[in-house]
Structure formats: C-alpha cells, structure tokens
C-alpha cells in the first residue's frame, strides 16, 4: 500500500470511528433524556446502547479523564467505599465522575460518564477531573487489560452468588492473572485482612498499599467453621488466626508455608460500634492519625471508611487527613445501604443484603440492639440477586431478637421456611406477602417505632421505587 493510501485509509478509518462515537453518544444521550422525562435515573440502559454501537467507547472516554480513574471492586462494600471516596475527593474541590447509582457493569459506568460528554461524544470536564467507579468483580477483566487505572481498590472476597461468579477461588485467580499481566503502573490498595486478597496482591509487581482494621476487643479469635476461606490460598493448609474481625477477615498466618498477613500501611482501630447507626474509630496513615465518628452502621462500614480514606490519602491528590475526617463524619448512607425514611411517625431503615457475610453482619447489628426488633425481609431471585436462594441458609437469622417479622419478594416462601427452621417467632410467620406494598403496610402496622427492611438487590430497587411512588423516598440522583 502506498503512503498516500495509508493516509487516506487512516483518515477514513478515523472518520468512521468519529462517526460511530458521535452516533453512539447521540442515541445514548437521547435515551438519558427520555429516561429522565419518565422519572427514571441511574439505569444502565443508555450505556448499553452506546456500548452496542461502539464497544471501545467506554475505554476511550475513561482514557480522556485528566487525572485518571480510581476503580473499586470486591464482593461487599463497593458502593459505599466508592461513594465515600468520591465524596472525600469532591469536597476537596476536584471534579469527580462517579457511578453513584451502584450500576457497576461496564454499561453502568458508561451511563454515568455520558452526561459529561458534549453532543459530539467528547468528554467535557475540568482539567483536574478524576473518575471514581465501582466495578463488578467479574467485569474487572473487561477494563484492566485495556486501560491503566490510577489506583485499584479491592475491598474483600466473600462467597457471593455462586451461580453467577462461580467459586471464590475463581475470582481470586482471575484478579491475580489480570494484575500479573499489567505493567504495574496502578497503585493497588487492598484489604490486607483478607487472605485471598493478600494472595492476589503477591502476584503484583507495582506499588501496593495494604490496609486493615484492628478490633481485638470486639470479636472471636477464630473464624467460625462456615466462613469462606479457612485454607491457605497458597498451600491449602488451615490458616491460624490471632484475631478475626468478621467472616475470614483478620490477622492470619499459615503454619504450612509461612504465608501471612502483610503489614498494613493504613490501619483503622475500632473504638466503639453503636448498633446499626454509627461507629468510632481511629486511623493512622504512616505518622499521622485521626479520629473518626462514622455515621454508618457496623464493622463492615469501618472497613469501607478505611479503604476510601486510604485510597484518597495515597492517590497523590494532596488530600489531608483532616479533610478525610471531616467528610467521613458528615457522610450519609448510600442508596439502600442503611438509608432511613420517615413514615407514619415511624422510622424505616433499608439495608441491602446480598450474600451470607453481608447479611450476617446486618443480623449481628440488629441482634446487638437492646429492644426486640421489627424486621421485614425481601428475598428475590433475579439475575442480579443470584437465582440460587440457598444462601439464606448460611445466614444466622436465629440470632435475631424479634418483635415482628414480615416476609415478601419473589422467593418469600423460601424465606419464610428459612425463618421457620431458625425458629424465629414461628407464629408470626403467617405474615408472608408476595405483594410488596401489602407487606409494607402490614409490617408498618405492627412495627412499634423502627422497622428494619432487609432486601436483596432487585428487591431493594423495587422497594425503593415503591417508596418513591408513595412519596416517601425521593428519586436517587447524584
């Protein structure tokens, strides 16, 4: 091919590329606008359209973000961690592009970037803008080989929707191989208390920043026998724990091969956990130390707070610990994750439960309350919930001290059965309703002051939408 031909071909090729970008963006933006008119936001639909028309469009856009991208992945805590991180950075005067709705497949991320594009499909942001995105554990494989994030934050790995993700080990294997293939220009910020993640990190040659939480006075020395990874990820001998914060998170060592908890560079020390409302902890970043009053429920949110703080501090954005402390102390719950509503003079707290570990932590919080609780559980078996509902048998509902219980969702019969065998106030189990509005009215009627609603992902979305149509909740927008 002659020189001239190459130039023409290249020009033609780029022309087509530009045209596709333009069309993809135009149609997707039209979809954003139509959905907006219909009062629906935060869906992945526009992103899906743009992705269909131009498969590399997301990577193109992400690479245009001036300060790069921070990715958050892991089984639990992605949404809260990325929310806290976006908030810390945003309050420091930096423009943040963020998938706040928790839509975390590539099309969801694309949907959140599209509003920052002009009509030609080019990104229009501050010269100092940064991206903060949560990404599904399995979808990480679509981004990592094609781009170099500024940092990757890994929160934890628990058994989760085995029908969708497969075994825990297979996600760890995928991540390890992804990281081994990268050039090492990304900062890897990971939960050092998680043996699987500590092992994933051993395969990475770039900069690594382990974080952890100490809570010596709060919990058992050993993970219980049902926890996920009691075996050494390197040699399969049983791991020994000097303490365990929850599930398999803690200070571990393998007597077989010596594989052990890496030394954390950012440590949160738990001072107090106040039921399902807030907690107090201190955090050290090298020489500096801060005290945080976090208005979010449970130990798992301390991990999220520490992960976000650590990422904000080490990301080279000049964010001071004092700023981190201020933002964390004033934050509020994210979409469906401890969100509180007021209705008929009562308070209702919506708590997402997705897998045994997360659900058990919520149950532990509820069990720690002084008075018997009024609880509603919504169990769905949509693709996003996991179609296999057997995981509810790994949740210790028997720990609940109940006043009333109401059950709904597409698999309410399975849920009711689970509660029967947990021997939770068996006579109250007649309150099983397929219809969620019905269930809510019934549960509210019976609740004394505070109703706790535990819902799987799609059930949480449906329930929240129901609250919006009842005028109790507002449409989530960010």
């Amino acid at each position: 091919m002659s020189q001239v031909n190459v130039i023409i071909f290249d020009f033609w090729g780029r022309g087509i590329e530009k045209m596709r970008e333009f069309v993809a963006c135009l149609i997707a933006r039209l979809a954003v606008w139509v959905l907006h008119l219909c009062g629906r936001r935060g869906t992945a639909f526009p992103g899906r359209i743009a992705e269909m028309l131009h498969s590399n469009y997301l990577i193109d856009l992400l690479n245009q973000i001036p300060l790069g991208v921070l990715l958050v992945s892991g089984t639990n805590g992605k949404t809260t961690t990325s929310h806290l991180l976006a908030e810390i950075i945003g309050r420091s005067g930096i423009e943040v592009i963020h998938n706040a709705s928790g839509s975390n497949l590539t099309r969801g991320i694309l949907s959140s970037v599209l509003p920052h594009c002009d009509w030609r499909g080019k990104l229009v942001v501050d010269s100092g803008a940064i991206g903060v995105f949560e990404i599904d554990e399995a979808a990480l494989g679509q981004l990592l080989p094609a781009m170099t994030p500024r940092a990757l934050i890994l929160t934890n790995l628990f058994r989760d929707q085995l029908d969708r993700y497969g075994e825990l080990d297979s996600i760890a294997r995928l991540w390890r191989s992804l990281l081994m293939q990268t050039e090492g220009a990304t900062r890897l910020i990971f939960n050092a208390d998680d043996p699987s993640l500590a092992f994933v990190a051993t395969g990475y040659s770039g900069e690594k920043i382990p974080f952890g939480v100490t809570s010596h006075n709060l919990n058992a020395a050993e993970p219980d026998q049902w926890s996920d990874s009691s075996l050494c990820p390197r040699c399969s001998n049983p791991l020994q724990y000097s303490y365990c914060s929850y599930s398999h998170l803690g200070d571990f060592v393998c007597r077989g091969c010596g594989f052990a908890h890496p030394e954390s560079s950012c440590i949160g020390a738990v001072k107090e956990i106040q039921g399902l409302t807030s907690s107090r902890f201190s955090m050290t970043f090298g020489p500096e130390s801060i005290e945080v009053n976090l208005p979010l429920p449970g130990l798992f949110n301390i991990y999220n707070g520490v992960a976000a703080s650590c990422a904000a501090y080490v990301s080279g954005l000049g964010i001071q610990p004092q700023r981190i402390m201020d933002v964390l102390s004033k934050t509020s719950s994210v979409f469906g994750r401890g969100e509180a509503f007021h209705i008929d003079g009562k308070v209702m707290t919506l708590l997402l439960i997705k897998n045994p570990t997360g659900a058990n932590e919520v149950i532990r919080g509820l069990a720690g309350l002084e008075t018997p609780t009024d609880v509603m559980v919504l169990l769905n078996d949509g693709v996003a919930d996991g179609q296999d509902v057997s995981w509810v048998w790994d949740v210790e509902f028997s720990m609940l001290n109940l006043r009333s219980i109401t059950v709904s969702g597409s698999r309410c019969a399975d849920m009711a059965l689970r509660l029967k065998y947990a021997e939770c106030n068996a006579d109250d189990l007649s309150y099983v309703h397929k219809d969620v509005r019905n269930a809510l009215e019934n549960a509210l009627c019976r609740a004394r002051e505070h109703l706790y609603v535990l819902a799987t992902y799609t059930a949480m979305l449906e329930f929240r939408q129901e609250l919006v149509s009842m005028g109790i909740a507002r449409e989530y927008r960010k």
């Binding site: 075996l231 179609q387 057997s390 048998w393 019969a413 009711a416 059965l417």
Partner: protein
C-alpha cells in the same frame, strides 16, 4: 430416642448452604421429641467407638474438595466405609456426592480418588466448559424433589448403582442420560442443594425414618404441620414450569 448424626467435613464441605440440611434434620427430629446429637467428622475428630445413625456431607470448592478427599484416604474414609457397610443412612450432596464415587477428575485434569460407595465416576471437562447451573426438578418413585444445582463435574453411573431419580427440569448427573443422583440401599447421593431437605420434607422424613428404624423397627414418625414446606416446594415447582 436419640439420633446420632455424623457431619462429614463441616469446615471444608459447606459451600452451598449445606448447613440448611443439617438444621432441617435437627429441627424435624426435635419437633417430634427425637433428640439429635451432631458429631463433626474430620481428621481432628476422635472416631474411636463413635456410633452414628446417619451421615451427611455437603459440597465444597475444588481446593477444599481435594483436602477432603485426602482425608478420606485415612481414618475418616475407613470410618465412613465401615458405617455404610453397617447400614448407616447417608446423604451426600454435590461435591460430597462426587467424593463417594470411584473417582473424580477435576478441572485441571487432576485425578482425585473417591471412597467408592457408589459405582460411578465424575469428570470435570475443564473450566471453560458449560456448568450445570439452575433450578432442578427430579421425579422419584414417589413424589418429586426440587432444588438448585451448580456443578462443573459430569457424573456417570455404573451398572451396580441406581439413580436417585429422573430429571424433569435441569441437568442432573450429566448432560446426557437424564439421571439424577445415586441410590444404594440406604445411601443417597444428589446434586441438589438449595436447600434440599427443608423444601422436600418427604425426603427429609424418609431419611429420619430410616435412621429411626435402626433403633426401633416399625417406629412411626408423627405428622408435622408442613404448610410452609410444601408452599416453598410448590413455588419451586412453579418457577421451573412444573405442576404437581
């Protein structure tokens, strides 16, 4: 009456909510005034003189399954084999079921030897191959079983063992012959978790009854109020597009 239940490798083989099956055996016995003692059976357990009426083993991840299979080569394996020879009732689910066959070839082609209770072998065709995942309905001689299956391994039964039932919806042992599980006298193997026993109270009671018969031939289980159990059973049938 007191039943003694041996729970095999509760620390390794517990991935698909297998504790639900154990909890179900305990509750359904206790609700009838039958006491249940659970004994953990693994390398650390003192098996000398331990008597069990029923053995139960669940599913595990590949790595855990390999550990369990190593343990089965020693004292634990002898204990289980001896129990089966003496007519102890057994329920083996998913990975635990695979371990009760002659051999299991895992996703990396590694051959793991099984305990050989059931004349069968399981081959995992590799990580890239299709898994059997989804809701499953199985027809028994009397009634149906509902549950969820999720396995990479394909199991083929030999001549000296019967399938537990016939697959109506789902995959079962393999993608070829419509068989599900295995049955040899009072030993049962199945791919159904989800959780099997609570949603199939007839099958749970069948196992409890068999265990009780070891004490008191002719013993009759009293009736329980199983409205919620059958409700969940029928919902599961409906989800799979089956009627009763």
């Amino acid at each position: 009456m007191q039943l003694s239940v041996g729970h095999l490798f509760p620390d390794l083989m517990n991935i698909y909510a297998d504790r639900g099956n154990v909890e179900c055996l305990i509750r359904r016995s206790e609700w009838r005034g039958i006491q249940v003692a659970i004994h953990q059976i693994n390398n650390e357990a003192d098996l000398d003189g331990l008597h069990v009426d029923l053995l139960i083993v669940g599913g595990g991840q590949d790595r855990q399954q390999l550990e369990a299979s190593n343990a089965l080569q020693g004292a634990v394996g002898n204990f289980v084999r001896h129990a089966c020879e003496n007519g102890v009732v057994m329920l083996a689910v998913c990975g635990g079921f695979q371990l009760m066959g002659m051999r299991y070839v895992d996703a990396d082609g590694l051959e793991i030897s099984g305990l050989g209770i059931f004349d069968m072998e399981t081959i995992h065709p590799g990580r890239q191959s299709r898994r059997a995942v989804g809701n499953i309905v199985v027809e028994l001689e009397k009634g149906k079983l509902v549950g969820y299956e999720n396995h990479g391994g394909q199991t083929y039964l030999g001549a000296s063992v019967d399938p537990l039932g016939k697959v109506l919806v789902g995959s079962g042992n393999n993608f070829v012959d419509n068989t599900e599980g295995a049955k040899l006298e009072v030993a049962y193997g199945t791919y159904l978790h989800g959780s099997l026993l609570p949603k199939n109270p007839h099958f749970a009671d069948h196992l409890i009854n068999l265990a009780c018969q070891r004490y008191e031939p002719g013993f009759e289980l009293s009736e329980l109020d199983d409205e919620l159990e059958w409700c969940a059973h029928h919902e599961a049938l409906k989800i799979s597009g089956c009627t009763d």
